[in-house]
């Protein structure tokens, strides 16, 4: 039983990290139906910069804010230079390639200026040995923070999108940009904001996850964002609840497979799940199928 609970707790823990990444991916999906394929690099860069500022003697809280500010600005850059021009062309190839490229570029720059080796990342919230006991098993507070943040964000986003006027505006924009523009909605600003929010969230996720391992390197975030994709697709692109459930399903399933079948299959199972889901129910668990536009 302890064995099972350990796996479940670990699964929910890592799953909430995937969920947090997936929520960030969803934000741009709402407004432009695009995903930032370079999200992993934003996670990396934010953690890298924070670690760098902190190592230069900057007060940690300030270093964190500075890191988040930089990735927030990069969010503007991504929207302006990678996504917006590409949306003018038909199909999704343009923005996929451009965001993937921007992520690669950030990775290359980080490797050039901070080196390719893992650098120490300070503990921002709690330390590795802080645990609470759930079902007789220790659960790490560092993961619990992520879980609480993910659940809180989902609740907040559901409320925001469902109940507030701005939420309605965002839904209108996601439904039809042109119509929104005609009706005088600040479409451009909303899209820009969604990229900033998505990037900042990526930064937060990057830091919270980096502190668990204790190091960050230029390739950090890449695997996480892949699993974030899997979670988002599993739950249904654009659905916040879906992202949370998807993340936790991916986390728990991979830990159970790792624990009971083979740790060798732990990593591959998420992608197998992705393929099956896309083949059987591309709209995911929690989203409606998209109508075919003729």
């Amino acid at each position: 039983m302890d064995f099972l609970f350990s796996l479940l707790i670990a699964g929910v823990s890592v799953g909430s990290a995937y969920a947090l990444v997936a929520i960030g991916l969803n934000m741009t999906f709402w407004t432009t139906r695009t995903l930032n394929f370079g999200q992993g690099s934003l996670m990396m860069l934010c953690a890298m910069l924070t670690a760098f500022f902190a190592s230069q003697g900057v007060w940690l809280a300030l270093a964190v804010v500075a890191g988040l500010a930089v990735v927030g600005l990069l969010g503007i850059f991504i929207e302006r230079f990678a996504v917006r021009p590409a949306l003018k062309t038909e199909g999704s190839m343009g923005w996929m390639v451009a965001t993937l490229g921007f992520g690669t570029l950030l990775q290359g720059i980080a490797a050039k200026y901070f080196g390719s080796q893992a650098v120490a990342f300070p503990e921002v919230v709690f330390s590795a040995s802080d645990t609470v006991t759930i079902f007789g098993q220790p659960a790490a507070l560092q993961y619990l923070v992520i879980f609480v943040l993910a659940v809180g964000l989902v609740a907040l986003l559901e409320l925001f999108l469902g109940k507030t006027i701005w939420g309605q505006v965002i839904r209108a924009v996601s439904f039809d940009q042109e119509l929104g523009r005609v009706q005088g909605m600040p479409v451009g600003a909303i899209i820009l904001l969604s990229f900033v929010a998505s990037s900042v969230l990526a930064g937060v996720a990057g830091m919270l996850i980096a502190q668990i391992g204790g190091t960050v390197d230029p390739a950090f975030g890449f695997d996480l964002v892949l699993l974030g994709f899997v979670s988002a697709v599993l739950g249904g692109m654009g659905s916040s609840v879906g992202a949370l459930v998807g993340g936790i399903v991916v986390g728990v399933l991979s830990k159970l497979v790792g624990g009971y079948i083979s740790t060798a299959a732990e990593h591959g199972i998420a992608f197998a799940l992705l393929m099956v889901m896309l083949a059987v129910r591309p709209q995911g668990l929690f989203a409606r199928p998209e109508a075919v536009k003729v």
Partner: protein
């Protein structure tokens, strides 16, 4: 620049230039150092691999982020067959290519169901799974330790029929294989198959309306692409002699995408140039390795913006999609000019197409409510009604885009209810869309060729090898294209890319394209919208010609002036119901019709 480009294009297209490059490379390879020959081998492998993603992503428009998987299946396939089963490379490489093609064919089924970003995810997932399997399946692939000892030309362990095959010989074999592959690839893109793949790329729905099966086209694109990647992988295996999983990771998939984008998606010579540059660059410029990620990142971020058609777009004229041999043959004036033949429709009871009590509901909304109509051969029926009355929905139901909630559609006596759009088009019921759905980078002539797709029967093999039968068929269609061009009066701009032409020309091409399909019935969805007066004249003449050939025409339009002296019957829809069926004159008197139009604040005489 333009002159340089056209000179270069002519040079690049010239068969003599191809032959010269191949001969010179083959002749000098024994004189070169092993290292130089090996690099040239890598270039050729890179060229085949880049063409592989070019088929799938550049031509058929299906993005792939897991192409290293196909490459890896080819490489490991050849490696394992050679090492564990002792097969020699002239067997292992074709088998490896077939294995990879089979894997790609299988992937095309789930992948064919998803598009855009979901497709990107799926292919990414495929690449990741392949990578994980290779790493963990120790017994077969050697796992993370890799698979050493594959017979290899550069290790001097490669033999064929008991004789050693050195790297220079291997290069010549690889060169011949690459040449053959490129010839086939070139032939295919300039055949009905290649044009169909481009059509899918541009609009799957428009392709369906021409009788192109999107799943069939995708399966073909995946299979061809897989075969090419497997071929590259097989040659790679016998070149390096050691296979490790890290050579087939996501980075490799992204790298080949970079190569393809820089070369110019859709361009064959562009890929050759790009693959050559990307193989030589890191080799000659060691410092490149350090900036590799930055360079790749910059290229991916900005190239589609700055250089959307890559190197090919910069240096060469856009590719064309009809073989010049076919055009020459069509131009030769043997035989009388092909007239547009009258059609003989099977019309049991004088009805070609009939809709019986068709109802279409979307959720709670009833878009079509018990609609029935019948089209007779050689008659033009207008379908009119206020906006949102269900006209386009009706066309979408009949043409197979929507499956009706109730009712039956019969065409030439056969029940076609709920049949997929491409099958209905193949049967000879052709439609157009409110906006002309043509391939913008095709010329008028090439777009018209697409119309004949449903009639072309030449085998894929004939197309790939450019056999005389395929050329004859193309030439025959080209003659009919010529006739249609005369009919729509666009001979002067026949060889200009469509995107460069005004809207009216595009609309005429769109309607003219229907004729090439030799349909028995046509559904035209607002063909006159946005046309100027003279173009409208030409259009109505064209529609009359259609009637003259015995085709049944269903015409949706708002312009009553345009319709009044053209149509034989009128059907009026309002809120999804038929409210009038009869003559044009009768409609103007009908109270229900007038009320419906007044309700929509329009007048019948508008």
């Amino acid at each position: 620049m333009r002159r340089v480009r056209s000179h270069l294009s002519r040079l690049v297209r010239h068969p003599l230039a191809h032959a010269a490059v191949v001969l010179v490379l083959a002749a000098i390879s024994p004189l070169l150092s092993d290292g130089s020959v090996q690099i040239l081998c890598f270039v050729l492998v890179g060229i085949i691999f880049a063409q592989s993603i070019n088929i799938l992503t550049g031509i058929a428009g299906q993005i792939s982020l897991g192409h290293a998987g196909f490459f890896g299946i080819g490489a490991y396939g050849a490696g394992i067959l050679a090492k564990s089963y002792g097969l020699e490379f002239y067997l292992t490489i074709p088998i490896a290519s077939a294995l990879s093609a089979a894997a790609a064919y299988l992937l095309s089924f789930p992948a064919g169901r998803v598009r855009e970003v979901y497709l990107a995810m799926m292919t990414l997932g495929f690449g990741m799974i392949f990578f994980e399997v290779v790493r963990e399946w120790n017994d077969l692939t050697g796992g993370t330790m890799g698979l050493p000892g594959v017979p290899s030309a550069s290790l001097r362990t490669l033999t064929a029929l008991g004789r050693p095959v050195g790297v220079a010989t291997y290069f010549v074999i690889l060169l011949l294989a690459t040449t053959l592959f490129l010839i086939i690839m070139n032939n295919i893109t300039r055949s009905r198959i290649g044009r169909a793949l481009f059509a899918i790329h541009h609009s799957e729905i428009a392709a369906g309306s021409l009788g192109i099966s999107r799943s069939g086209a995708k399966q073909l694109a995946y299979t061809l692409s897989g075969a090419a990647a497997g071929l590259a992988g097989g040659f790679y295996a016998h070149l390096v002699g050691y296979l490790g999983p890290d050579s087939f990771n996501l980075h490799r998939s992204i790298e080949v995408l970079v190569v393809a984008i820089v070369g110019g998606l859709g361009s064959i010579p562009g890929q050759i140039i790009s693959a050559t540059i990307f193989t030589f660059l890191p080799e000659k410029l060691q410092v490149f390795a350090e900036y590799q990620f930055i360079v790749y990142g910059l290229i991916l971020t900005f190239s589609l913006l700055v250089m959307p058609r890559g190197i090919a777009g910069l240096l060469l004229d856009p590719p064309r999609f009809i073989r010049s041999a076919a055009r020459t043959r069509a131009g030769r004036g043997d035989g009388p000019p092909v007239a547009l033949r009258p059609v003989a429709a099977r019309a049991p009871g004088g009805v070609v197409l009939s809709a019986d009590s068709v109802t279409m509901r979307f959720g709670g909304l009833t878009a079509l409510d018990d609609v029935s109509l019948a089209l007779a051969p050689g008659r033009i029926t207008a379908l009119v009604g206020p906006n949102g009355s269900g006209k386009s929905t009706f066309v979408n139901v009949v043409s197979g885009l929507y499956r009706p909630s109730a009712g039956r559609v019969t065409f030439e006596g056969r029940d076609i209810t709920g049949k997929p759009d491409f099958e209905i088009a193949r049967a000879g019921l052709i439609r157009t869309f409110q906006d002309p759905r043509l391939v913008p980078n095709f010329t008028v002539r090439e777009n018209l060729m697409l119309g004949a797709h449903r009639l072309m029967r030449g085998s894929g093999l004939a197309a790939a090898l450019a056999l005389p039968s395929a050329t004859d068929e193309e030439a025959h269609v080209l003659k009919r294209v010529e006739a249609v061009l005369r009919l729509i009066d666009l001979e002067a701009v026949a060889d200009q890319p469509l995107a460069s032409l005004p809207y009216g020309y595009r609309r005429l091409t769109d309607v003219g394209r229907v004729l090439l399909a030799e349909p028995t019935a046509i559904l035209l969805d607002e063909p006159a919208a946005g046309l100027a007066e003279p173009e409208m004249e030409r259009l109505s003449k064209l529609i009359r010609d259609m009637r003259g050939m015995g085709i049944s025409v269903l015409l949706i339009d708002h312009h009553m002036d345009f319709l009044s002296d053209l149509v034989d019957d009128v059907i009026v829809l309002d809120s999804g119901r038929v409210i009038y069926h009869g003559s044009m004159a009768g409609m103007r008197q009908d109270k229900t019709v007038v009320a419906a139009y007044l309700g929509a604040e329009e007048t019948v005489d508008a």
